[in-house]
Each structure stands twice: as C-alpha cells, then as structure tokens.
Symmetry: C2
Subunit: 524 residues, 2 copies
Amino acid sequence: MGKIRNILFIMADQLRADYLSCAGHPTLQTPHIDGLAKRGVRFDRAYCQAPVCGPSRMSFYTGRYMTSHGATYNAVPLRATELTLGDYLRPLGYRVALVGKTHMKGDDAGMRRLGLDPNSSLGVLVSQCGFEPVERDDGLHPDQGVDPDLAYNRYLRAKGYESENPWHDFANAAEGPNGEILSGWYLRNARLPARVREEDSETPYMTDRAIDFIRDSGETPWCLHLSYIKPHWPYIAPAPYHAMYGPNQILPAKRHPRERENTHPVVAAFMQHEESVNFSRDEARETVIPAYMGLVKQLDDHLGRLFAFLEAEGRMDDTLIVLTSDHGDYLGDHWLGEKELFHEESVRIPLIVYSPDAAADATRGHVEQRFAEAIDLVPTFLAAAGGTAQPHRLEGASLLPLLEGRVPDGWRDATFSECDYAFREARQILLVPPDQARGWMVRTGRWKYIAYEGFRPQLFDMETDPDEYVDLGESPAHEDARAAMAARLLAWLKQRRIRTTISNEDVEKRTGNAKSRGILFGVW
Amino acid sequence: MGKIRNILFIMADQLRADYLSCAGHPTLQTPHIDGLAKRGVRFDRAYCQAPVCGPSRMSFYTGRYMTSHGATYNAVPLRATELTLGDYLRPLGYRVALVGKTHMKGDDAGMRRLGLDPNSSLGVLVSQCGFEPVERDDGLHPDQGVDPDLAYNRYLRAKGYESENPWHDFANAAEGPNGEILSGWYLRNARLPARVREEDSETPYMTDRAIDFIRDSGETPWCLHLSYIKPHWPYIAPAPYHAMYGPNQILPAKRHPRERENTHPVVAAFMQHEESVNFSRDEARETVIPAYMGLVKQLDDHLGRLFAFLEAEGRMDDTLIVLTSDHGDYLGDHWLGEKELFHEESVRIPLIVYSPDAAADATRGHVEQRFAEAIDLVPTFLAAAGGTAQPHRLEGASLLPLLEGRVPDGWRDATFSECDYAFREARQILLVPPDQARGWMVRTGRWKYIAYEGFRPQLFDMETDPDEYVDLGESPAHEDARAAMAARLLAWLKQRRIRTTISNEDVEKRTGNAKSRGILFGVW
C-alpha cells in the first residue's frame, strides 16, 4: 500500500445500484466489482444529482448541482465558464484524460462570443469537460448522425466488420435467420447475440484503450475517466453474455397497481411514454433484463482484467479507484422505463471508492450508509491530489475522511436531485412551457419529497414504504412532513454557490478593507 | 412624436426615490426630472435587485437577478459567459456605449482560461459589461489607486487644476482658511464648496461627454448608458449648489427608538458600522444631506440642459429615455448609513421611462404603482429595438406595454432583492462564514419579508407600518404571513433561469425528437 498518485474514475452508464452481487443481487454475480468493494468502501446510499446522462455527468465533472451548472439536459451546452475536473487537477500536474462517454455539449456560442474557436485545442478541451479526449465515444451512433471518423468504427472495420456504421450493424445489432440485420435499437432483439465477437465489443475495446493509456502514461500522475457506454441501451450483448441469464433470473418487477391510481400528473405523463408502456409488459422485461444483466456481467469480467493489469503494474498501490454510474434504469419498475424521475431505481447509483492509502485500511470492505452524492467526486479527487478545497464553487465534500473512518462534522443528512423534462413528450402531454418543466427531490433518512413546478408535491415514507408505492403527497396527515421537506428545499436553494469568480480566502482578505484602500465612506 | 430609434439609459448613483419633487420631496425642486416624468411614466414602486452598486448594476445590465448572474458584490467579477446589454442590442445594429460608471469587474481569470486577453478589444468589451467605453469612470479615485490616465483628471489638468489627483484635490475636496485641502471623503467637510468651478465638476463633465457622443453618432441607432457618479459620496458639491439647501430643508430622520430594541442581528451589526454611527448623529445628517440635495439639484439642472439639447436636435422624437438609480441611501434613516439592507430608503429606486412613440401618449404623466424591477430594462430595450424576447435568460419583463396602457397577464405582484454582506464588517461581527452572509427580500403589496441565512426572518406590514418600524419577524400572530412569504421565496428560487445556453424555441424544436434522429429508445 502506498500514497495516492493516480486517479481512475470508472463510470458505467445506466447501471442500477442493485445490479451488483455485493449490493444483494441474487442471481447476477459481479465478483470483480465485489472485490473492489471489499478493498474499499461501498456507498449504499449514493445519489446522482440528475437522473439523466447529460446533467448528471455535468454534476460529476463540475462538482456542482444542476441548478448551479445549468446544463439541465442532454445536449444543453455547459457554460464555458464552468470549471471541470481538468481545471482542478491539471494545475496540480495531472494528465486528465477521457476514454469513453461524457455526454458533454460544448458551449460553442459562448466560446465564439469570447473569440474562442471551439475546434482549437483549447476549444476542444473546454468542449470535452476539461478532459484530454484520448478517445471520446458517447456510444450512440445512429446512421443519421454517425461520425465518419469514429475511432471504434475504424477499429471494427480494421477487424473486418465492413459497413458504413459497424457500431450499429455489428456491435449493436443481431442477425436474422436469413442474414438480415436485426437492430439492437429494438427491445425485441435484446435476447439475440450481437454480431460482433465479444473481444471486439465496446466494453473490452474501451478497457483496452484505458490499459493502453495507463501503460503509456509512465510516471506522470494521471486522472483517467474510463466511461463505459454499457449497460446503457442499445440493450444487446455479444455471445456468450447474451445467453448467460434467463427470464427466471431477473428480479421481479417492483410495481404495484396502486401506483396507477391517482398518479401524480408528471409521473402519469411519463407512464404514457413508449418506453414505459413497453417496459410495463412482462415480455419486454423478460427479453431486455437478461441482456442488461449480461452486459453488466461482461463489464465485471473486463474490470477484473483491468484490475489484474493494475495489480501487475503496481498501480493498485498508487491509484485511487472510483466505480460509479450516472443514474439507474427503471427496467419496468413503477410502470416506467428509462430514468429521469426520482424513484430509487433511477436516482440511486452504485459508488465504490478504493484508496491505496494505509489511512483507508480501517474501512476496507465497509458499507457506508451516510449519503454520498455525485458532486463529492471532484472534491475527493482534489483532496487526493493535494489541492486546496474550493467551496465557493464546489458543492460536494471529499469522501476521503469517510474512507479513513472519520466523519466530518455536519455531514449531510439529506440528498438532492433535480430534473428538467422540457425536452420530453411528458411536457407536451401536460401543456407545460419549457421553463416550467422542473422537478426537485429531497431525500432524508425518513422521507423522500419531490416538488414538480406547477403540480402537487410527492412524498414517500422511506422507512415504512421503501418501495415507494404509497404517495403521501396529498395525505392530510402528512402536511407537517411536507412543510418540513419544503423548508429543506428552500434552505438548499438558498445555499447554492453563486459567487464562483472569487475564492472565500479572497473574500476574507477583502472584508472591511475598503478604507485601507482609501475609500473613506461614512467617516466624519 | 415618432418611433423609438435610440435609447438613453440615464443612471444616477445612490439617488433615493423620494429625493425628487415629482416623488413628493417638499423642499428639493427637480423640475427637469419632473418634466420627464410628465412626458413619460414614473414607476413609484421600482426596486433594485441588490441594494449596492456592483450587483445592482449587474442586474440592470444582464437583466437577471443576483442569484442568476452571481456577481454578488462590488468587484466580484461577472462570469464572462453572462450576456449584457451590448450582447442584446449590438446584433440589432445599435452602437452601445458607456459614459460614466458601471462598477463592472471583468472576469479576467475566466477570460484567460478561455484564451481571451482581457486587454484585447474583445476582452475590454467583455470587461465593460458589453459597453463600448466611450468614457468609463467609476467616480472613486483615492490617491492609492488613481488611474494615472483618468480622462477626467486630464481634463481638469487641462483646465488648470494642477495636481497628481485633481479628481480628489479639486472636484472632491474643499479648501480650508489657510488654503489647505479638506477632503470630501470626510463627512464633516460636506457643507463646504468643492474646489472646482461648477462647470468643471463631474456632473456637467459627464453630461458634455454624452452630448458629444449623441452629436457624433449621426444616424446610427445608439444606446447610451449615461451613468452619473453623483449624488454618491464623496458628498461634496461645487458652488453654488453646496449652499442651496440648509439643515431646515432636509427631511426629518425616519427612525424610531423601537428599531434599536430587539434589533435583528444583521441589522444590529450594520448599525455598528462607522457610517451608521455617524449618520445617526444629527450633525452628520445636517451637514451631509444639504450637500446631497445640492448634488441632486445640480444633476437636475444638467439633465435640463441635456433634454434641451435632445429637443433641439430632434432626439426627443426618436429616443427612449430611462432615468433611474442603482439603489438609495439611508442618510441616517433607521439608524443606518449607506445602503445594502432592504428598507425602502435603500432598495427602492427612482424610475422614469419616456417613450416618444405615439402608443405611449395614453400614459404620459402617469404614476404607475405596479412593481417594476431593475431587470426590466434589458427586456424593455430589447423590445424597443425590435429584438426577440429571450426569457430563457432574461428574468424581467418589458415595461413598454405598461407605457402603452396595457397590463400583461400575470404582471408581478411581488418584487425581490438580495444581498451578500460577506465583504462587510457586519459579517465579522456576526462570525458568519463568507458563504453564508446572504439575505433575500420579498415584498408584496402588503408585506415585506426578509430572510437572512442563519438568523430569524424579518417581516414588516407595509400597509399599517409603511415606515418599517415594527419588525414582526418573531410575532406569534404572524406565523402564517411569514410562512406564506417563505413559500413565495421558495417559488421564486425555483423559477430562476438556469438553462441559459439554449433558447426556449430550440427546446420546443427538440422536444420529443430523439427518435426522429435515430435514437430509438424504448421501442419494442
């Protein structure tokens, strides 16, 4: 064991917190992830700040809540003045690199206004969330929008997969009895094997890119964001993973007829979405979830390969490793598909943190029940790299003290997440204008309170109703609980970090100093 | 009368709403400002978004609340990605220029991070709130920090005022019996005449610069921000204005012994500031307020000269004119000096809007009691210039409909203002950390509610107690009123515009269109 020098920030996409054997999944065995949890700390109550890829990731990369960073949905540009992980670690001598997905959309208009060409090397850095894009691949390449120069497509073609879009036609499609391509975009094809050899599929490919990066980095400290595309859809796994699990091994659907009665209007609108209608059918669940499990299993196997490589290279002794996901996946629970709303299946995320530092020996294998949030990672990495805390911008807290068995005073007793459903059909169903399609979740140990602009709130008693079947949002008996949770939301909104252009140290230095600078106001 | 082509945006600094004869001041006659009010609309309940220069002005120039623009105090840099008046009007063919003060601090670090030299022509524009700095002069030039190349100092020297810092030694100082310089920084010198000839003092000088600009602009549409430095301190007026008013002509102090009992902790800390202690003495009020009134009178006279020039040039027929101030001045009311807190004397501002358009004929001379806010000006100017509303960023509303006698549906029934006292001694007195020194005001027709982070709220009944002497912040009988006002604050915080990088039109275009772009999620 040694001191932290490098940071390996692994993210899976749309990986539910409960689809790991260390988190209790009864049929899906993830021994390598479990092994990391045994060597580190698994945060059992970790939450993303927005249960959809783009804004969740912008919170991971900026260390700020969605309200603060403003990139509220996929492809909403992140303001060019928001600092990201690279801005924090690069000045400390780190090479900060990306292999895989960020879902970042650069603020091209903002950059052009400031005279910065988004295609210049600096512009690219700003557009890539501060990561040096060793290989950026957001994992969604429909024929209509495929990058002609996509590295993974070039790789596949070099391996003999001849197509305009081998990402789709081989890695994310199956083959019919007459050789026809059966697209992985369609749920009904999820039980079939992808047309790609396992070793050429996305998960091993990205793992290899990470191994190459680590091997090539030598002695320069690095922070690598290895950001896997799976088990996010297209839900299709290569052999043998496509057939490793069957319908009898999936978790029973967590849903109750009661959820369809007097349903909250926003939830009801999401239930009308095609993905919700389809995932509410047992046939869809029984077709898709085994493939989803196969993709998780494949991920676990390649993480095992990656961890073995790190071990062999001595990197387990000097590398902080985080494994997490940007959000979960309803998979038909609560009569919903996809994510975006605030049930645990959507908003709770897996989070395992391993530190090689001997100071963390006391907690190895610990399962932490205190709330952790996506925004804690930037402060964690900054602390691990020896940087100065920047609480005027960063809204999370370093997890290192918890790893070392110390609980900082006033550790949060509530967690917050947000959504902006302006881009979804639900908004049109509800006739809500684009500015009003917002929701906020406040979850304490006891309660989950959800405020949707323009509608009644939701309230769940997480102690007596952990499955969130009983919405107490209109219960007369719970008026006080709702008022207390609304007060929590108000207190939280008031505490957002808005003064980001000057540090607290500089504020202290300047406090009351006007007169020393000759600005004599109010002096007789 | 004609159509609006130009925009003249006049701001006085620290001019109280009630120090105009048209607003009821009994002894201070401001006939030229009154004349503008007779030709336009005077908004009697207009409020600034932060009662201190910097953040108030950033709200004026960005059209956004302080929480949204983040420049929470003087010299806190405005994020380089915040758009300002120039960004909105320049693309519409306007020359957008500044004569006078903005109190803008450029985001040098943010610009450098994006490869923009703050001293380049683009960098200067971003640093000057989007204004072409025809003449920037923030009006405070202590010897320790005086710009060696200050245009006004060059002017004074050319006029024979020989000094390293003629701004101070002549325009803002008096002379003692033995020829010694008596600095205008000291309140005790306010009764003396400045050492400058009236025609060379700051108000006529800035008026002349504006006249030059307007004359030189020819047929190009322009938006000129004529931003006077006075009646802000140093409180010292040139002859004859220094002696135009006496102690018997000032308004009685609006203060009550009750305000010093059980005082709210934040207010109590501000009462300990030197400016509050001094302004609580009658001698200070009787010395300073006549000078303040003289400075207002001088301003009115030069505005008369400016309006006569506009009339002669035909500009009254094609120019929208706004007259306002960034905040008020306690002048000893409520046992306070300066501004920053939320009493009407501090937070209410004068606001007169004159439109040459015949559509505004119906309201000439009208006194409007509906709430107006500083953030309404950018939308007003944008509408006057024929631009498209940008409600995804701009948080105010155009005042033009009110000028035309139309009241838009849902016009605000509350107004909001904010403060960040992190930089003030009050924070140190209260032992508050830099991030927690925040306050929010919500004022409806009936109530004024003030929330200070970490302390009890304040509540005033503006109908029965318009002087704000009775703080109901702990009154058991007003629990419901406080809860209702806290709910207003929560609703307001939830409605802030955070998704600023994409327009609502673009959101509408993209809503539900993923599948048309080949992103087939949830399709069976």
